[in-house]
């Protein structure tokens, strides 16, 4: 039996990093700063995955999100010249309505979570899970979720073609 890694201190540290990163993403003027804050938030989320005993998803998160998708974002930020956009207004005209709508959604979340708290019993989650996480995920992916896996590969093919067609100057 391993000692639990999911101590409350690490949970609050990582979730604080994620929340600060998220706030920085939506408030920074410079898009590069936003992207860096998002990378910090994604790495903290990988730590939360490790606390939830999901090492494979944590690795995929770091390699694919922080290493792949965010590099793509940074490339595009460098490609489109954003210096003029930094001097302009950053928020659009209906920002008040947007914040009101988000506040309504937050009220809905608070209502649901306070009323439906009993569905998730307040016991500690299981501390140690024996077994091979990656192998089990592979078995599920190539067994039960075979069809969804093939559809996902088709989706990626369509996305490759779409990205090339969109970004090409003359087809």
């Amino acid at each position: 039996m391993n000692p639990p890694v999911a101590t409350p201190f690490f949970f609050y540290l990582l979730s604080g990093t994620m929340l600060i990163g998220g706030i920085l993403v939506i408030t920074r003027r410079n898009a590069v700063h936003s992207a860096l804050a998002l990378i910090a938030a994604l790495l903290a989320q990988a730590g939360l995955y490790l606390m939830l005993y999901a090492p494979f998803v944590a690795g995929v998160q770091i390699i694919l999100y922080a290493g792949g998708i965010m590099v793509l974002f940074l490339f595009v930020i460098m490609l489109v010249n954003l210096e003029r956009a930094q001097k302009e207004r950053q928020f659009n005209k209906q920002w008040l309505v947007g914040i009101a709508a988000a506040g309504a959604l937050g009220g809905l979340f608070i209502t649901i979570y306070t009323k439906g708290k009993g569905i998730f019993p307040d016991r500690p989650m299981p501390a140690s899970l024996e077994g091979t996480n990656t192998q089990d995920i592979g078995k599920l992916l190539y067994g039960q979720y075979m069809f969804a896996f093939e559809i996902a590969s088709l989706l990626l093919l369509v996305a490759i073609i779409g990205a090339v067609v969109m970004a090409k100057k003359r087809i």
Binding site: A31, L38, Y53
Partner: protein, 108 residues
């Protein structure tokens, strides 16, 4: 000592989702809107993995369906980012702007 339950993860995920929604609804810069969409997808992923962990506690260590779903969501996020940034580049080449509220070619 207070322990961390599934509800903690759900509350954190809801907070991140709200941050993403605020970013999508209020920012003008398309790149930051796309990053906010990534925030929303990550909030959903955190929920899925937390539910998977909860389900493992009830069904045994082989019940990893939530993590498999999280991997599918990451695949979708990659596809969405590639196509979205491609559209952004094509748009920037034509109109020399990256602001969402100046995208009005289809308005009459």
């Amino acid at each position: 000592m207070l322990h961390i339950s599934t509800l903690h993860y759900m509350v954190l995920s809801a907070a991140l989702f709200l941050l993403g929604v605020i970013g999508v609804l209020t920012r003008r810069n398309v790149v930051i809107v796309l990053m906010s969409i990534e925030l929303i997808l990550n909030a959903v992923n955190l929920n899925l993995v937390a539910f998977s962990h909860y389900w493992q506690g009830m069904q045994g260590p082989n019940a990893l369906h939530g993590q498999v779903f999280a991997i599918f969501v990451i695949t979708d996020a990659a596809a969405e980012a590639a196509v979205g940034l491609g559209i952004l580049i094509a748009f920037f080449r034509n109109k020399e702007t990256v602001n969402v509220d100046e995208v009005n070619l289809l308005k009459w």
